[in-house]
């Protein structure tokens, strides 16, 4: 491209052409979405299987999510190296997912702290919670715990997914986010085993399937825009 002066029509055509080119800069390869969809999906399904089939696992399947951080760091590093451009929406979406990550950690902290802390606060007021098994007369002290914690996780899954879907006009994530809200409501009426199953299905619908679709689109885009 030379440094020539343009007519008004040429200027307008050039602006339109360049904005179109910038919009066609497709960065999203779906690797992160596939990784988290697969790992969280597996954790949910394993936890559900553990509960339904009474399998004895020596660890909590949800701890496997911690392992996913290693490939995620590699993906972030490699994408940072290869991306030559960063769009306005990239910046906003990265911020949303970062806040989501912090919120997941905060929620897990809530799950672990709120029970014992509530017992302590009740004791400060001079109360203790007891439970009574139906049909018996005996009472025994009850350990407090957060109710339906997986429901809250499913609710949290929906937020960044739906924001990403709407911002990128990416229908699979919009559908995934909406289904997540539906699963959240269903999980309020089901036990922990079904909640885990719904969490696993949510991750697959929210991230794994959209990630695979993104990957396919990315490859097609690379083939046609070399």
């Amino acid at each position: 491209m030379a440094d020539k002066t343009l007519s008004e029509q040429e200027s307008l055509a050039l602006i339109t052409n360049m904005i179109q080119k910038a919009r066609n800069s497709f960065n999203e390869n779906g690797n992160g979405a596939m990784l988290w969809g697969a790992v969280v999906g597996l954790c949910g399904l394993l936890s559900a299987a553990k509960g339904f089939l009474k399998i004895d696992l020596p660890f909590d399947p949800w701890l496997l999510t911690l392992l996913a951080f290693i490939p995620q760091f590699i993906i972030t590093y490699k994408e940072g190296k290869s991306n030559m451009v960063r769009s306005h929406s990239d910046k906003a979406i990265d911020a949303v997912w970062m806040v989501y990550g912090i919120s997941v950690f905060a929620l897990v902290a809530y799950f672990n702290i709120i029970g014992p802390q509530s017992e302590r606060l009740l004791q400060d007021y001079g109360y203790e919670v007891f439970r009574k098994e139906i049909g018996t007369d005996g009472y025994e002290p009850m350990r407090l715990f957060p109710l339906s914690p997986i429901s809250l996780l499913i609710l949290l899954f929906a937020i960044p997914t739906l924001i990403t879907g709407i911002t990128r006009s990416f229908r699979p994530m919009i559908v995934g986010g909406i289904l997540c809200y539906l699963f959240f409501v269903i999980s309020l009426f089901t036990n922990t085993n079904y909640d885990n199953l719904l969490a696993g299905i949510s991750a697959i619908i929210n991230w794994l399937i959209p990630g695979l679709i993104m990957r396919k689109k990315y490859k097609e885009h690379r083939r046609t825009h070399v």
Binding site: M1, A2, D3, K4, T5, L6, E8, Q9, E10, S11, L12, L14, I15, N17, M18, I19, K21, A22, R23, S25, K81, M84, V85, R86, S87, H88, D90, K91
Partner: protein, 101 residues
């Protein structure tokens, strides 16, 4: 009365660069070169003109031991681009009205 078109923006390569940068948060020099099909030397000169006018920020850094040049629109650049497009629209509208009458 027509506004004069900003001479800094009213040139093919500089307008192409600004049109790309207005659409993104920031872009590397190589991205701009690839999208505009300009030579590195010419692009570098035009980027410096845009920088001197205060329309873009240029950040030079090292990434994996290779020099990296990142370009980003400034608030003044965004404002100038908006004014340029408005002026362009008024010219084109006047042309349209002239043809209609």
């Amino acid at each position: 009365m027509f506004k004069d078109l900003d001479p800094i923006l009213h040139s093919q390569l500089r307008l192409a660069v600004v049109s790309l940068l207005i659409s993104v948060e920031e872009a590397e020099f190589t991205y701009l070169r690839d999208k505009t099909n300009a030579t590195a030397g010419n692009l570098s000169v035009q980027l410096n003109k845009l920088k001197d006018a205060g329309y873009i920020d240029i950040k030079k850094q090292f990434k994996d031991n290779y020099p990296q040049t990142l370009c980003k629109m400034t608030a003044a650049g965004i404002d100038a681009f908006e004014q340029y497009v408005k002026a362009l629209q008024s010219y084109l509208q006047a042309g349209q009205n002239g043809t209609d009458s």
